[in-house]
Symmetry: C2
Subunit: 425 residues, 2 copies
């Protein structure tokens, strides 16, 4: 017997039939003798409709009232799913976030979960009742409704799993697991049976849409075993069927501690995956005075304007007087960044500023590279062999990222996937 | 300065523009220096959609989960209305029913309000904040969501007005007040400036759809001054405009204590209104044994089966051995009533049972008839003069009801309206 949290996103509960399907999947876990809690999102489209209402009334809205409105979508789903479970003979009840309660801070619209009350829900689960809980929301210190921001339901599920000490948190999504790279780029991409928290975190922050970054952080901090799997099956003709699947019969990818992977004796490859992201821009500030404090003078105002600077490289100064600084930031931050840099032009005294929006960041990720030399070298050689020029490089303990021209993205990903031995047979 | 509760139904908040209109009306009350709370329903159609979801999943649903689902409609409206108020410069915030809280019993789906917490809402109103509250719902003793049943928002508004000791509760609806009779039957119907709780209660239970019966009872018990008025204006061409009205500029009908009407020195007519209802059936049980206990033997099983018997008449027994008993009940209760009477046939020993569905109940209502003789006589004479036969008669202190053939409804209403001096000039 295990205690399991299941999480289903908006597509998986998109209509009444799909809600019935989710009920069958949850009941199957119950029938295996497990204690089951289910975290659900709003039905597809509902949150967008509610956000549309809010924005048409008040373009600059009070986030406290926004949260009151948009949090209703999940409340509808929890009631309907509890009914669907009862209808097939399972005991079930819904818990709203103020009933548990799910306590958050007061950052309305993007709150963080502080604590989850577990007494009532654990008591219900122990009695064999499936507990149905809304994702994406909580109650702030003032007793008002909060929401966690888009995609917050993954975080809700992991936080609940941590609070009730669940043996596993199954995140049902529209992909059936975590792949060595995007299967749309190469049909040699393989599904990983297991991946470490650290690798998953890099993948999430490097553009993989499988799990929300915050939910992976939370899982890592509380050692919540997360399983990513699909809530529907794709037929050979590409047709999607929701009338399917019983969780563990269709294993996805387990996101766990490195020790667990080691303990299983699985062969740990040096590199687990190749990620790419095209949503950054590269900015070069040319001929800045090469003196102490210039980097602070450049990046201070950007940080103050909430611009997320990512990769940074400062070229060696040839004349000892001036230098070029190149860095990347999200495309969406570009207008704000440009405004700050224009303001700072006089004090920085740079000659010119060039912006390149046609770039991609390619990353090689793997906890194995900690103990292996030559991983970076292989990346540079592989790209060089394909004639791909590397702009900026940044590394962490378990990943190497390079910036290249966006046109070469697929070529680079395929070449690296093969070079690191990730290709499926 | 007054403390006012405003209540708007689903049609009045049916879309974003109408919600903006409601915000303007509430702000106008605030600008007059009043303390303002607003109780709102779900946007038109939303509750029906949610009920549809529930019923398609579970025809025999758990009412606790039903309440979780359908209560979300009002929560959307309170957030949107608070935002619309803020958008036009009014301070506003929403209070969910668990935030106040609105404590109810645990009759899920048809709960009764027990108590309303007023501390937070009164503090907000005193500071000039418009408090926006959902109608139709509350929290049961187990801390779970309850709803009051269809039309419960009127009751929510009156209960809130009673709890916060409001000077007035304005119920905005799709009619602009209480009329001496249905204006669709005669264009001589007049809007009443004032009506007593007792009269309003009779009108509500006799078929007037203006206010929910329970809300009138509650207003009477707590002496809440209720004003019925329209949230939109009808143009001369019959076109409806929601871009209008500031409450007290368009006085509706005030439902108040008799003393208040007397104190105003308003001429109190003997009869305030003529009501009619076509949703009853007449049942005659012929040739029942005329012995003590026969009425109890007849009506006991009906009461046990939750059949609402209304008017009853027992004919004088000519031979001293058998009698005919005639009574009315709602059409919707007929199948159950028939089943009970069939079962009881042997013990009652009646000869036959006739059902007439083609009947109407016509009622004359007025607190003035307490102190005036001859009111009933005038009714009988007026109907006789038009050749209308009276089936059953029932009276209370402030109303006389008669059952006639349904075809004569309009004729009877018009004749009585004229006879009691209610016709407009």
């Amino acid at each position: 017997m295990a205690r399991i949290v299941l999480k289903f996103g908006g597509t998986s509960v998109g209509d009444i039939d799909r809600i019935r399907n989710v009920a069958r999947m949850a009941k199957a876990e119950l029938d295996r003798g497990n204690e089951v809690a289910v975290v659900v999102s709003a039905m597809t489209g509902v949150t967008n409709q509610l956000v549309g209402y809010v924005e048409s009334i008040a373009p600059l809205y009070d986030p406290r009232e926004y949260d009151v409105v948009v949090s209703t979508g999940e409340q509808v789903t929890i009631g309907l799913l509890a009914l669907a479970l009862q209808q097939i003979g399972a005991r079930a009840r819904s818990f709203t976030s103020w009933q548990l309660p799910v306590r958050t801070d007061e950052a309305y619209g993007k709150a963080r979960i502080l604590e989850i009350g577990t007494e009532a829900i654990v008591a219900a689960m122990r009695e064999g009742v499936v507990a149905v809980v809304p994702g994406f929301q909580g109650v702030g210190g003032e007793g008002r409704v909060t929401t966690l921001g888009r995609g917050g339901s993954d975080t809700s599920a992991v936080a609940l799993a941590a609070a009730i000490k669940a043996d596993r948190c199954d995140i049902y999504t529209d992909v059936d697991g975590v792949y060595t790279t995007d299967p749309r780029i190469t049909d040699k991409a393989r599904k990983l049976p297991m991946v470490t928290y650290e690798e998953m975190l890099e993948m999430a922050s490097l553009g993989s849409k499988v799990l929300q970054t915050r939910s992976v952080e939370l899982a890592m901090n509380h050692r919540v075993r997360v399983q990513v799997l699909a809530s529907f099956r794709k037929g050979p003709d590409g047709a999607i069927s929701f009338d399917v699947p019983i969780g563990s019969d269709l294993p996805g990818t387990l996101v766990v501690d490195e020790d667990e992977i080691m303990a299983k004796g699985l062969e740990q490859s040096v590199v687990s995956g190749i990620a790419y992201a095209k949503d950054d821009v590269k900015i070069t500030v040319a001929a800045v005075a090469d003196r102490p404090g210039v980097a602070a003078a450049l990046f201070g105002p950007l940080a103050a304007a909430n611009v997320n600077v990512d990769m940074i490289v400062q070229n060696v100064s040839l004349d000892g007087k001036s230098t070029d600084i190149t860095f990347t930031l999200p495309k969406s931050d570009l207008p704000r960044a440009r405004a700050e840099l224009d303001k700072a032009k006089a004090s920085l005294g740079y000659r010119e500023l060039t912006v390149d929006t046609n770039v991609a960041k390619i990353s090689v990720i793997g906890v194995g590279m900690r103990s292996h030399a030559g991983v970076a070298l292989k990346m540079f050689e592989t790209l060089a062999a394909k004639g791909i020029n590397i702009g900026v490089i940044s590394t962490s303990e378990i990943k190497i990222s390079v910036l290249i021209a966006a046109d070469y993205t697929e070529l680079a990903v395929r070449a690296l996937h093969a070079a690191y031995g990730l290709d499926a047979d």
